[in-house]
Symmetry: C3
Subunit: 265 residues, 3 copies
């Protein structure tokens, strides 16, 4: 399960209960419920990031669903490599399914026999997605969940690309983690394209520029120094050793950062 | 498990450990540990809300326990429909047990053989309730846990009723969720009693009045608009589409809201 | 699992996935992920506190790891009493292992066959510790995880001792819990050594002194009164009945508190 439900309320626990009631032998992994409310892009990338680390038999239930109660479709998807996903058709599943080779079967969750009754208008996690995930986790056939839809009918997801030029990058912040580390929509190849082997860069934040070192790990820079490092999922990220980069730079998801070479002193 | 332990500390994890040590085949569902500290009413209603969604064989361990260390009783209760509950006798279990048809057997947890030794004065979740829940989850008899008590000896819970008149409602806030949605001690029947099919209302907050639409779901109102909707557990709730109602209205548990018809312009 | 990963991100969930992929029959107890980032002492004491409450067959994976990516060792340790621990060699495991009678076997996690490939520089929880914990939880031999190291090579942990004199104690705050209760590096024996059976004390906070009662439980003092009590793990702790002591006294981990006898009026 990956959701934006948080841990303050019973939302995640109730979904767990629905799964346990219908698939008692399934084991639930709470990947995270800490996605920012309604942040579909963030949820989509966290979901895709996690794939290589989950059991092969996992059924992924992902719910970040600002359109709940509208006519956005609720889907179960079997990917080309056999992985199964359940969630709203708003792009949340798109990067993960693409990473699994694309969709092989797409089913709209419109079979009421696999939903709770009545279906609430605002909590499809509990009433639609959890029962569907339980059905799949218990070995049920995806086709039983509803109507087949074209595999090319999946909603896509707009992922803002970085602007990479010789000696300059502008990239969007897609995540800020618990430690205040800032993950950019930028990979190592992009960084190298712009700056080659230059490890001394500058971050432009408003009218200020900050010296930053490209480094493999925190401990290679001094406390308080800024580093650009490849995070464990392959995203270039900005951190402050023993500090909180997001707070220091007042950065949050959706803002953009500019990276330039260090000016000569 | 439903508690006010939070996730910052090891309290919930240690209780999970105590259960796992004594009932290794039991599966633990963390319904929530996010109940506001010592908020018995909130915990009691979240617990009752969750019942229809949990496995039939569930044992409910609920701990919101401001009276820990006093002479308030620690109980295990078998409800008329067979569900089992463990928790303090302070009203926390009352709505859930009522929803299960009342108590069939009430046992005071005074058998030291089913407690950890020594029992701490401030953490009965770990030392008293978790071992009792594990005993029941492992199929043990409730009678082994301690002394039988009268089924009518359970502490009740004062649930503040809404004041409903023709064209006016005053109701208490019993919950604010992660999204800032405000749940009132008011159901759809109460709303209809006061306002009929009128979907255009006003919320009175201090000296201000705010236009609110009765709506089935968020997406039926515009971003920033206020809606009154039936939440997925049947409580009338106040939300702002893509906003945070609790923050906007400075509302929190225990405060009261007044609802009136929209004044003609 | 005990970590400082928090619940905002997928870090704990991904580690759970790695364990589930490699030890599908293992049950994961999330002891807590709420350790303050990089607070090794806090994590070490929470881990040790929890030992008596966990299943005998538990494998402990503990990750509070400010030195990740440096040459600090990653270890698996079998204690004299058979318990198994996995974590960084920075003192985090030391109090727990000491409580288990010391180390019987120490293995450096340098066998790549039991690591994910490639090993990231900043997330050894996922790439090194979780696979090792899964191996042990699945019944694998600790020796397979890497090179044997001397049992006396474990990093120790500096635990600041209280200064205890007749009629005076100065002790460090090692934990502040969800309720604002302040746990001191001080036990009941230390308190009695300084103050005997005197139950009326004063806390010195900056230039102010506060009256505090030694009490077994919250309910024995009035709302708003300060109490010194033995917490459920044996630490002397400062609380305010129905209040938040840490906020009131602006106390946090690492600060020191002075306790004196009550001055006669």
């Amino acid at each position: 399960m990956l959701t934006d439900f948080g841990t303050l309320d019973d939302f995640a626990g109730v979904c767990h209960g629905v799964v346990a009631a219908r698939a008692p032998h399934a084991s639930v992994i709470h990947l995270t419920h800490g996605v920012t409310p309604q942040a579909v892009l963030q949820g989509a990338l966290v979901l895709r990031n996690s794939l290589p680390y989950m059991p092969d038999t996992a059924v992924y239930m992902a719910v970040v669903d600002p359109g709940v109660g509208t006519d956005r479709r609720a889907l179960a998807v079997e990917a080309a490599d056999g992985h199964a996903f359940v969630g709203p058709d708003n792009g949340l599943l798109a990067p993960a399914i693409a990473a699994c080779g694309g969709a092989r079967r797409v089913v709209v969750l419109d079979n009421a026999a696999h939903q709770l009754a009545p279906v609430s208008r605002t909590f499809h996690g509990r009433d639609v997605f959890a029962p569907a995930a339980a059905h799949l986790a218990a070995g049920g056939d995806i086709g039983a969940l509803g109507s087949v839809a074209p595999t090319d009918s999946l909603a896509g997801l707009a992922v803002p690309e970085p602007q990479i030029e010789q000696g300059s990058i502008e990239a969007e912040v897609w995540n800020v983690d618990r430690y205040g580390n800032i993950a950019l929509l930028l990979d190592k190849v992009g960084l190298t394209t712009a700056f080659g082997e230059n490890l001394e860069l500058e971050l432009v934040v408003g009218k200020d520029r900050f010296y930053a070192l490209v480094s493999e790990t925190f401990a290679h820079v001094r406390p308080g120094e800024i580093l650009l490092y490849e995070d464990p999922y392959g995203w270039m990220s900005v951190a402050i050793n023993q500090g909180d980069a997001a707070e220091t730079f007042r950065m949050r998801r959706g803002k953009r950062m500019v990276i330039l070479p260090r000016r000569s002193a």
